[in-house]
Amino acid sequence: MLIRTIVAFLAIVCLATTASADIGRVKKVRGDAQIERDGQLMAAEPGLTLNAQDILVTGADGQLSVTFIDNSRFSVGPNSRVSLERFEFDTTTHEGAFDTKVEKGSLAIITGQIAKQSPDAMKIRTPTSILGMRGTRLIVEVEQ
């Protein structure tokens, strides 16, 4: 019982400042949706944890919902390529930096603690714009 408690205690992911792993988690998936990591594609599934530099990729019928550890949330639409370029987050102070690139397709976003703590600390980049998030809910779409 004691051993189990100790093992459980050690197994907890507890971070004051975050590494670039486990920055978020896939919540829902529909159709053709994958994560590209280090050049490899893997099927997205609810519960899959995400790392900085992961790319969210959807096909013509694909959809992907993700929540990040600062409580920001994404909904990725079909035919999209969304790159999680940079994610740094201090879970105690809520300071951080979160840069996402929407290379193609569409993304709905609800911002979280990083954006709330510092305006423009969360940014979305597209081929023609750089957007600073300021406690907000929005859709970003790269037109065909």
Binding site: P46, F74, S75, I110, P127, R134, E143
Partner: protein
């Protein structure tokens, strides 16, 4: 003949070189009320070029920076955009737990919250749980940061013991940054000494 070929090639090159435009639709905040946050269009250097802060504003930004800003309504949103919004994950749900002073024994009044917490985890696809420790203002800021983090780790352990898969659980400390009851510095207050569990 050669002239029009040159023009055609030039036009093709220009079109090919043009990056696709971006459309931005600002939505009202969750929970109704019609308020919205705002989005800033930034330059490469990070300077604010323009701000969008009206709900249902639609901005289109073209290659080269030219932009048009207009307005839409909830009713006029395209089906694909309605769908995108509907697919956003639900907001996290927070459960506050109180413990017998200095122990990991839940006070009886917090037992229903624990039951609800587990039900919420069951109900969510790909759920994860973040245990957040909070202190009162007694003690220094940095000490309270450590204390709250240790406390969160301890309670995360209890939740794992009670059946939550460990890969689903994380623990963080917020020190005295989120007081439930505003007090002066250096004030003991049991309501502030709490653990909040977020189910995402």
């Amino acid at each position: 003949m050669r002239g029009s070929l040159a023009v055609t090639l030039l036009l093709l090159t220009m079109t090919a070189a043009c990056a696709p435009s971006t459309k931005i639709i600002l939505l009202p905040n969750e929970g109704g009320g019609g308020t919205s946050g705002s989005v800033a269009l930034l330059s490469e250097e990070g300077d604010t070029v323009a701000t969008i802060d009206d709900a249902y504003s639609v901005a289109r930004v073209h290659d080269g920076g030219r932009r048009d800003i207009g307005q839409t309504t909830e009713e006029a949103l395209a089906p694909r955009h309605v769908s995108l919004i509907q697919d956003l994950p639900q907001p996290p749900r927070s459960f506050v737990l109180y413990f017998e002073e200095g122990t990991t024994t839940l006070v009886p009044a917090s037992e229903p919250a624990l039951v609800d917490l587990f039900k919420e985890v069951e109900a969510r696809s790909g759920a994860d749980v973040q245990v957040v420790g909070h202190t009162d203002t007694l003690g220094s800021g940095p000490d309270n940061d450590s204390l709250s983090r240790d406390r969160a780790k301890e309670i995360a352990g209890v939740l794992i013991e009670s059946g939550l898969p460990s890969h689903m659980v994380s623990a963080v400390g917020r020190g005295e940054r989120e007081l439930l009851v505003e007090t002066e510095d250096g004030t003991s207050n049991p309501l502030n000494r709490r653990v909040e569990v977020l189910v995402r």
